[in-house]
Symmetry: C2
Subunit: 121 residues, 2 copies
């Protein structure tokens, strides 16, 4: 990544920001199991508001990571699923998630240590 | 990552948020080349304010990813460097950066397509 220019760097960071977004990660993780309707996603992802889920899905759809399909039933049914691009994101996201999971205690300990030193200073 | 509970998930997401943070990524990328002083970092990372660099470095230090060393010279010299933990983050961050770099055009095209469709709707 060292050789990329600042323009590219900015665009990559936009994407990293999406991947680092809590709700986007949870939506991608849930959609790994298959297509889901809006309310199924809302139920599966505890604590997300209707508005935040709408915004998150729109962001993922805009980036081409999620596809929205409307079935002309009564009432209309709307499914969300990962695109090929969205599925390709799985591996690096899981690698990062695994890193985070592996080093969770280490990071928590570092934080507690930092906060203790701040209080003493 | 599917088997982790919500408590763990929240902590992991905090870490993903850090990794998805534009400035944190740029600082980690710059410190890969070796220890740097505050002003060296500020120069290397175009467009970052003094305050934002201070906040970013404190966040990375708190998480145990960056170590700050003060040398008792006159004036005092302060060096920032990656810890062992910080260096271990390199691989997953680069994997994600490589994914982003590989799919940049695809994502840009998806965005343009999405925005065009929104305008037409």
């Amino acid at each position: 990544m060292a050789e990329i220019d600042h323009q590219q760097c900015h665009r990559i960071n936009q994407i990293l920001a999406r991947v680092g977004d809590k709700w986007s990660v949870l939506v991608i993780m849930e959609l790994e199991h298959g297509p889901r309707r809006f309310n199924e996603l809302k139920r599966a992802i505890g604590g997300i508001s209707q508005r935040m889920l709408t915004l998150t899905l729109r962001g993922l759809e805009r980036d081409g990571l999620v596809k929205r399909t409307i079935f002309p039933t009564i009432p209309p049914r709307v499914d969300y699923e990962l695109t090929k691009l969205g599925r390709s994101l799985r591996e690096p996201v899981v690698a990062l998630g695994t890193w985070a999971q592996t080093h969770l205690d280490e990071i928590d300990a570092a934080r507690a240590d930092f906060d203790r030193r701040e209080e003493e200073a």
